[in-house]
């Protein structure tokens, strides 16, 4: 296995935790990228090169969907910040509607409660959500996925090699995908070099002014936390900004539509009544059933945010300028709106500086991580995009 130099750091970082004993986590001997803490690995799923390679192969493999059309990477496109820049909300197998925006999985290693509503607690189990969701990869069962992988000739021996002789099963599939995703660590941004690395020239004057707004008048750090030694730009908590409320309550009834070549028009509900109606989405409440969690969504990290448009849980904002304008207005009022949201009264210069600052949060290895992901892709010549029935007919 070969790793490019620029992604070596996080991968070596995760490998250094191999010395964990029992349930405890050993301190890594290889420093994490500037600005980020060490990745913590479950004691029962330490990373190895074989697991990483296997997880990457699984992540990029379209045959893991029921009809061979979808890999994890089709919604988390490596070259698009491991999200999809071309869709507000995702779609799954046969074009089925998914309610929410594909979150970036860069730095997902640091997310403790996964999905926008936080319904999963580990990457090991999270992987099975999209694999089985009927509107995502649409596999009919756990056993179906496992059997399919076992029948694909190019996976022969890979699980056994990665997991001490153990075959593909529910745990090892999730474990391999989790280990790979924990390598997608991206720090050492220009902000990190300025803030933590004390490189005074790493940020421009405007970007520094943006940091002042971010950590001061804007109050952004209240949710997009920045610590003394590192910054996840997230608090791991759930907040109601009003975006979900407005969508559920049908407050938006007119839509600007781009037709091409600069031509635009506006359409209303009356034109769209003949098509699929918006699916309900009450956010975190769907997990906790606590009315206080209605239309609350997990705070996303802002690292690499310049690469992960469109924004918000429903991808409803195309640009960072739109996002800043939204928060400057104090979000959308509703009974459960987070009290930290209020009109900010930012000047045009302050808003511009804030956007400039956000664009300085891009890690230094994102392109290398994308290139690395593509190494797993080719299966030409050994393509076994068999019909679903073959999984059953192939059993002995």
């Amino acid at each position: 296995m070969r790793f490019s130099a620029s992604i070596l750091s996080p991968i070596l970082g995760v490998l250094c935790t191999l010395c964990c004993v029992g349930g405890a986590q050993a301190a890594p001997r290889f420093p994490p990228p500037l600005g980020l803490p060490s990745v913590l690995h479950p004691a029962d799923n330490p990373p190895t090169p074989a697991k990483i390679a296997l997880g990457r192969k699984l992540f990029m493999d379209r045959r893991l969907s029921h009809n061979n059309t979808f890999s994890c990477a089709m919604c988390h496109v490596p070259e698009q910040g491991f999200t999809s820049n071309e869709l507000g909300t995702a779609i799954g197998v046969e074009g089925q509607t998914v309610r929410r925006n594909s979150p970036t999985i860069l730095n997902v290693a640091f997310v403790r409660q996964l999905f926008h509503d936080g319904r999963e607690f580990s990457l090991e189990t999270q992987a099975w959500g999209p694999l089985l969701a009927s509107n995502e990869m649409a596999n009919p069962s756990v056993g179906y996925v496992i059997e399919r992988i076992r029948q694909l000739p190019d996976y022969r021996g890979l699980f056994e090699q990665a997991f001490g002789g153990r075959k593909a099963d529910m745990q090892t599939v999730g474990a391999a995908l989790a280990v790979y995703q924990r390598t997608l660590v991206s720090g050492n941004s220009r902000f990190d070099r300025w803030h933590y690395g004390k490189d005074r020239n790493a940020l421009s004057a405007e970007e520094k002014a943006g940091w002042a707004v971010f950590s001061g008048k804007g109050g952004c750090t209240a949710c997009h936390a920045v610590g003394p030694k590192h910054a996840l730009f997230a608090d791991g908590k759930f907040h109601n900004t009003g975006i979900g409320y407005a969508r559920s309550m049908g407050l938006k009834t007119r839509y600007q539509v781009e037709l091409g070549g600069g031509a635009r028009t506006e359409v209303g509900h009356e034109m769209l009544d003949s098509f699929e109606q918006s699916l309900p989405d009450v956010g975190r409440y769907e997990v906790t059933l606590d009315p206080a969690d209605r239309w609350a969504y997990r705070t996303p990290t802002l690292r690499n945010v310049a690469l992960t448009a469109p924004y918000m849980h429903d991808g409803s904002f195309a640009t960072l300028e739109d996002v800043v304008a939204f928060y400057d207005q104090g979000g959308i009022d509703n009974p459960d709106k987070d009290p930290r949201l209020h009109p900010l009264g930012l000047s045009a210069a302050e808003k511009s500086a804030l956007v400039a600052f956000l664009k300085a949060l891009t890690g230094d290895n994102v392109a290398a991580l994308a290139r690395d992901a593509r190494r797993a892709a080719p299966v030409v010549g050994r393509w076994s995009g068999r019909d679903p029935a073959s999984v059953y007919s192939g059993r002995h």
């Binding site: 496109v77 820049n85 046969e94 091409g260 034109m271 769209l272 003949s274 918006s278 299966v379 995009g385």
Partner: protein
């Protein structure tokens, strides 16, 4: 076969055809056949309808449905055959082979390509080959148009397997179903124009040694519910805004045209003396005509609009008359067929409009233009929902002034599914009328086939 070899061998056949097929001598459309495919100049006996399976309707599977449409037949108006393909593949367009004995069809989602034998028993098509590795072989997703070349089938996919976006290319297979070559759509600022990489349809003009491609959108958008898509501002940015003229001999792009808003179906006028092609842009509802200027350079002209573009009527399919003097345009949103007087292609004029159903997509006319066929389905997830989701095949007589309905089949009542693309066939292939110029190059065509 290497790309170089392909270029040489196909070029030989195509150039021979070009020399024997001067622009204007080729006969029409019927309605969108390759000029290398022999035509039905009389009454068509059968229409094949590629039909999308719908969960809960019959077996829920995609099908090739064969309908008897000859009024003289005992089984007129009946479904005489249906061939389930298994699953829902987002089946879409079909294309006839150069001898009209085979029919190719593709699945925009599954990327499968099916080849049917429609020569041995045209009333009962038989699936003889399934190509399942198109995406892995080419890197492209969504095989759309199938356009016959001598011994070859040109295929225009819509997307790619890397990100399900719109960058794609043009692919060539031989008649045996073997991959021959792939050619990327132009992307970026180039001396020939600014390419966006999108693709959709193809039309060949062998007399001019060119082919024209148009552009649509990637898997992400064509698989999405249309209502959701219209509300998704980001997704709406990702439609093709270009069309491309290519050199048929070298398979190299000659010029990229800025034709915003998803220019779709490509048709050449084969009227003697004519030298133009046409597309209509789905989103901007504009009509584009492609002509050579005095210096011989191809130019695209925006010659008019269809309906009120601000209301997004969504012109989805066109059918150009055999003499190039008229054109049917289906507008999906209002379910209407519009007839344009094309006597002056630079100034098309809508002269007739009729509502066909709550939605209408494909339109095909007979060679003599006296019969016009309509189907309802655009894409599985773009079709309307609820009571507006009518699925039909309707056949009308056209007397030049009025459409008169002659036949209507409800594809839901018949438990078939969503009716999409149509191709005509006759029971007796000896009645087909091959173009004289194509007949002249048959030895060269056979030689190319043997070379594979």
């Amino acid at each position: 076969m290497s790309k170089f070899m392909f270029t040489r061998t196909v070029a030989a056949a195509v150039l021979t055809a070009a020399f024997t097929l001067p622009a204007g001598s080729a006969l029409a459309d019927e309605t969108s056949c390759s000029p290398f495919t022999p035509l039905i100049k009389g009454q068509e006996d059968l229409v094949y309808v590629m039909t999308l399976g719908v969960k809960g309707i019959g077996d829920g599977s995609d099908k090739l449905v064969t309908v008897d449409v000859n009024p003289q037949s005992k089984t007129y108006g009946k479904v005489v055959a249906q061939l389930s393909l298994g699953g829902r593949n987002e089946v879409h367009h079909m294309g006839l082979s150069d001898d009209r004995r085979h029919l190719w069809a593709g699945g925009l989602d599954s990327n499968k390509i099916w080849v049917f034998d429609i020569g041995s028993n045209p009333a009962k098509p038989k699936l003889i080959k399934t190509i399942a590795n198109f995406a892995e072989k080419t890197g492209y997703v969504g095989p759309h148009s199938f356009y016959a070349l001598p011994g070859r089938m040109m295929i225009t996919p819509l997307s790619n397997k890397k990100d399900h976006g719109g960058e794609t290319g043009v692919v060539v297979y031989n008649n045996k179903g073997d991959f021959v070559s792939a050619h990327a759509m132009p992307v970026g600022d180039l001396p020939i124009g600014k390419g966006d990489g999108y693709g959709y349809d193809v039309g060949v003009n062998p007399g001019k040694n060119v082919f024209l491609t148009s552009s649509f959108t990637g898997w992400n958008n064509y698989m999405m519910d249309l209502g959701k898509l219209i509300k998704d501002a980001e997704a709406m940015k990702h439609f093709g805004n270009t069309s491309v003229m290519w050199d048929l001999k070298t398979m190299q792009p000659l010029k990229v045209f800025n034709t915003p808003g998803a220019p779709l179906e490509v048709r050449w006028s084969w009227q003697p003396g004519d030298n133009w092609a046409i597309t209509t842009a789905a989103l901007t509802s504009q009509i584009w005509v492609y002509k050579q200027d005095d210096k011989g350079e191809w130019q695209a002209h925006n010659v008019g609009a269809i309906g009120n573009p601000a209301e997004i009527p969504l012109p989805v399919d066109i059918s150009l008359a055999a003499n190039g003097k008229g054109m049917w345009v289906d507008t999906f949103m209002d379910g209407s067929a519009r007839y344009f007087d094309m006597s002056d292609p630079m100034h098309p004029k809508e002269v007739y409009k009729k509502k066909i159903g709550s939605q209408v997509n494909m339109v095909s006319q007979s060679y003599d233009g006296k019969r016009v066929y309509f189907t309802s389905s655009l894409l599985a997830n773009w079709d309307k929902k609820g009571k507006d989701d009518e699925q039909f095949l309707k056949v009308y007589d056209w007397d030049g002034k009025e459409l008169t309905e002659k036949l209507s089949l409800d594809f839901y009542k018949l438990k078939l599914g969503r009716a999409h693309h149509m191709k005509f066939q006759v029971r007796d292939l000896k009645t087909l009328k091959p173009l004289e110029s194509i007949a002249a190059v048959q030895p060269a065509v056979a030689q190319v086939a043997r070379a594979d």
